[in-house]
């Protein structure tokens, strides 16, 4: 901080401490950090904000910031409804007015921060970030009145910006473009550890309440949690023909499976299953428990969690039926049995294997898995091909294999951290597409609040239109602005935040899969729908019909 800034801060602060240092609470520092992350549009600026923050924040707060940005937020202590009610109670604004404000702001935490009466910031009575988050944990199970009075008291002591982050910590999801990778890159500049060690340390099963900053990122002792997975290596999409990759002999091909990317960790005679989102999912897949006895100790295997019967994968929608459940029952185990399709070996006999070349890792992987012969795990087979043209032919049968295309990996590549170009490519098949018309629009949230960016689409059913999907992405900012303008001028009716729109704009929707749904009127549910093109050349008469969708469902739905 420069002298100029310091003076400025002192001028604002009513009681300047004698030693010339300003006392800024941990929460205020965090609020500033979020403010900077929010307004900066460049990755480097965000990184710098994080580095600056880590350089001056209290240790406990640093631990919590790492925790929050790696998905370890404390459990929610109150519902959105209660927060709204309490805000209504304080402000005396009726519920409908709060709703109106919410629809304009697009974010509940911010709405409440703006509505609550401004406080006179008399002194820096605020606590650190860790105090608030740890109190959340302490009072989570306590009486509503305890939680209420904690929140009321906290609100009263906070500025608008502090309230915003406080509310956000309750309601969740900062959505400010801070990835775990960015946190790692910032920490690299603060502690003397390599990026992959930091990534490894901050992933896995650690508790921010009991872990100190030094424990987490100590530069000496490798006191590590033995459940930890490695950061995933992710592939970029191959947009061209694979010929650009050079000699096909340098490349290994396998199917790209459509499940949940995961790692199975076996250490100290225990087994852990991690998803790519670094969520510990061991309990969700009882099928894998047996691997505790079948796998050697000290291995970490990268692969795909996928429903399969006799080694043949089932569509992703089958997996979806069990992901959300807390308890997996007999039906699920029977209808959606899970297998692990192993891709890679990251650790062997307790040693990090990631820097060995892929062919060596694969050989070792085969040696481990081949003898197991259990339906819980199999190797994701390597596809034989002698020329790129042969592989192109093979790729055409992807859908029949319930695969999304082909993965290409350089045979001598090491296992990298995060999404990196060059050695691993996903060569996906073209998505399904369908032409349809926009019928409803709703304002987006966050960066897109105030703009109509969330649309519902319909296909024709005789003389009627039947809605079948929503989509929010795929248009450029400019196109969104044009559609927004159209919505504003062509709305027919308003239902709360939703507007029905004159059915006129035709879009091509791309999607990855289709399944039966009893929830949607059309009877189908799409996987990852997005707007692939605005068909300005087409009119509503030319869009697809419900029968087209049903035909797709019949072909690929199960």
């Amino acid at each position: 901080m420069t002298a100029g800034n310091l003076n400025n801060d002192m001028a604002h602060s009513p009681d300047v401490p004698g030693n010339g240092e300003t006392t800024i609470s941990g929460l205020e520092l965090f609020a500033r950090l979020i403010g900077e992350l929010n307004s900066s549009t460049k990755t480097n600026d965000k990184l710098q904000s994080l580095v600056d923050y880590f350089a001056i924040a209290p240790d406990r707060d640093k631990v919590w910031v790492i925790a929050v940005f790696s998905g370890r937020r404390p459990r929610r202590i109150v519902s959105s409804t209660l927060l709204r009610d309490w805000c209504s109670e304080i402000t005396r604004y009726p519920a409908w007015l709060l709703d109106e404000c919410y629809h304009t702001v697009g974010d509940l935490a911010e709405t409440l921060a703006l509505l609550l009466p401004e406080t006179k910031h008399t002194d820096n009575s605020n606590q650190n970030l860790s105090y608030y988050l740890e109190t959340f944990i302490n009072i989570e199970k306590q009486d509503e009145s305890v939680r209420k009075s904690f929140i009321f008291d906290s609100w009263q002591q906070m500025s608008r910006d502090e309230r915003f982050v406080f509310n956000k910590l309750i309601t969740g999801g900062f959505r400010i473009g801070v990835s775990q990778k960015m946190i790692v890159n910032a920490l690299v500049k603060i502690v003397d550890l390599s990026a992959s060690v930091i990534a490894h340390r901050i992933s896995g099963n650690w508790d921010p309440v009991t872990t100190s900053f030094n424990d987490l990122l100590s530069e000496s002792a490798s006191l590590s949690d033995f459940s930890k997975p490695y950061p995933f290596y992710l592939a970029y999409a191959l947009e061209e023909e694979p010929d650009v990759l050079g000699d096909e002999k340098d490349w290994q091909a396998e199917w790209k499976w459509d499940g949940i990317r995961g790692q199975i960790v076996k250490r100290n005679n225990e087994i852990f299953v991690w998803s790519r989102g670094e969520e510990l999912m061991t309990d969700k897949f009882p099928e894998y428990f047996i691997l505790k006895d079948l796998l050697p100790d000290g291995v970490v295997i990268d692969g795909e969690i996928i429903p399969a019967i006799e080694g043949k994968p089932l569509p992703f929608s089958v997996l979806q039926t069990r992901i959300g459940r807390k308890n997996i029952g007999k039906t699920q185990l029977q209808d959606a049995p899970i297998c692990f399709f192993a891709y890679d070996l990251l650790e062997y006999k307790g040693a990090d294997f990631r820097e060995k070349p892929l062919y060596e890792r694969r050989n070792q992987l085969a040696e481990i898995i081949d003898p197991i012969k259990n339906k819980a795990i199999k190797i994701s087979e390597i596809l034989f091909f002698s020329s790129w043209d042969e592989l192109k032919e093979l790729r055409k049968s992807s859908r029949e294999m319930n695969s999304e295309g082909i993965m290409l990996k350089r045979k001598n590549s090491d296992y990298k951290v995060g999404r990196k170009r060059g050695d691993w490519w996903k060569w996906k098949i073209d998505p399904f597409t369908i032409d349809c018309v926009m019928v409803y629009a709703q304002k987006g949230s966050g960066r897109r609040s105030n703009l109509y960016t969330d649309y519902t689409f319909a296909v024709r059913d005789g003389d009627n239109l039947v809605t079948f999907t929503k989509a929010y992405s795929g248009l450029t900012d400019k196109e969104f602005a044009q559609v927004d303008n159209f919505v504003k001028r062509n709305s027919i009716e308003k239902f709360g935040p939703v507007r029905t729109v004159k059915p006129e704009l035709v879009f091509e929707i791309a999607f990855e899969g289709i399944a039966v749904s009893n929830r949607h009127k059309s009877g189908v549910a799409l996987r990852f729908p997005r707007m692939s093109r605005w068909r300005k050349d087409k009119s509503v008469d030319e869009i697809n019909t419900i029968d087209d969708l049903k035909a797709m469902l019949k072909m690929y739905g199960k």
Partner: protein, 343 residues
């Protein structure tokens, strides 16, 4: 009496007086509340406005049949007593007071309650029926005192200077620009301006206003002079090639819409300053109460929410009205003709 003023497709129309207020299509007689382009349209046969608004209209619309009034001065048009009162929105901005057979109507135009030192101090006018704007008619819009916002702008400018960056402030060329210039003129010796702002500033200086002088950025302006400079430009300059000249720079937007984070993020600006020339929620409420009006028509903005609130809280009998005002803050291109010349 209820249809003394009707809301027509050309604008607010007073039948008895046979004149319009801020009509958006060409009419015979028009009373103009202020010089923003969504209120002051081209093509009327006769314009009545405040003395201070006339030079602005001349600048924007050229020579026309103008008649002017000072605040509180009254004239009769077809038996309707017409007078103007300060609206505090921009220079010359006025509320229109109409009196006929003992009934008083006031049309607010755009207004703000806080005195910015340039636009004239807003005063609520007692009336039976009040036509109010509602641009920021939701309780999420509560402005910080302008001094605090100015300080934030100045801190931001100083920080940019330290980092060797120019500060490009986006502010509407009529109104906001003068206000911001007044606030930041001490931070630097020279303030640079986009052609649209420069022309407006110069026009006002020519009309006798003692306001801060600015230097126009032209293709000939040497790049070294602009290093770390302070530049004022209209919102529509954002993202145009015109901005390249200031590189490296930071963009700050001065607008009430910046109250909401999503708006600042959506526009990809570096800093948003919630500085508005419109009344905030408290300002609107306080004004409606102070007029003593029993009937309120709510125009451009959050008219349905604000009128519903007035009704439910029994503050006044309110109804919402659709108009075509309310584009000057964000969407309407600002003086496109002049900008084209600039680029």
């Amino acid at each position: 009496m209820s249809n003394f003023i009707s809301f027509t497709d050309k604008g607010l129309y007073c039948q008895v007086g046979d004149f319009y207020i801020d009509p958006w299509k060409p009419v015979g007689k028009a009373i103009i509340t202020h010089g923003h382009s969504d209120h002051a349209y081209f093509g009327h046969k006769y314009y009545l406005c405040h003395t201070l608004t006339k030079p602005i209209l001349q600048l924007r619309l050229g020579e026309n049949n103008y008649q002017t009034l000072n605040w509180s001065e009254a004239i009769k048009i077809n038996n309707v007593r017409v007078s103007l009162y300060p609206a505090g929105h921009i220079i010359g901005s006025s509320q229109v007071r109409l009196e006929h057979k003992g009934q008083v109507w006031v049309v607010s135009g755009d207004y703000k309650v806080e005195d910015d030192g340039i636009s004239g101090k807003f005063e609520p006018v007692n009336c039976n029926t009040f036509v109010t704007e509602s641009t920021f008619g939701l309780p999420i819009y509560k402005w910080k005192p302008q001094q605090e916002v100015y300080e934030n702008i100045i801190t931001w400018i100083n920080k940019n200077k330290e980092n060797g960056k120019a500060s490009v402030l986006l502010a509407y060329s009529l109104g906001k620009a003068q206000r911001v210039l007044q606030a930041i003129k001490e931070t630097t010796q020279t303030i640079f301006a986009h052609g649209a702002v420069f022309n407006m500033q110069q026009g006002l200086i020519d009309a006798g206003w003692d306001i801060c002088r600015v230097v126009r950025v032209t293709p000939e302006t040497p790049k070294e002079l602009l290093k770390g400079a302070v530049v004022i430009a209209p919102p529509s300059a954002d993202g145009t090639p015109w901005m390249k000249k200031f590189h490296p720079y930071s963009v700050g937007v001065c607008s009430g819409w910046m109250q909401v984070r999503g708006n600042a993020r959506r526009r990809n600006v570096d800093a948003g300053f919630a500085l508005s020339d419109h009344a905030d929620w408290d300002g609107l409420l306080q004004t409606v109460k102070a007029t003593g009006a029993e009937k309120v028509f709510v125009t451009h903005g959050f008219q349905s929410a604000f009128s519903r609130y007035l009704n439910e809280e029994a503050i006044a009998m309110a109804a919402e009205v659709k108009t075509q005002y309310g584009n000057e803050d964000e969407e309407a291109p600002d003086l496109p003709v002049e900008e084209k010349i600039e680029q």
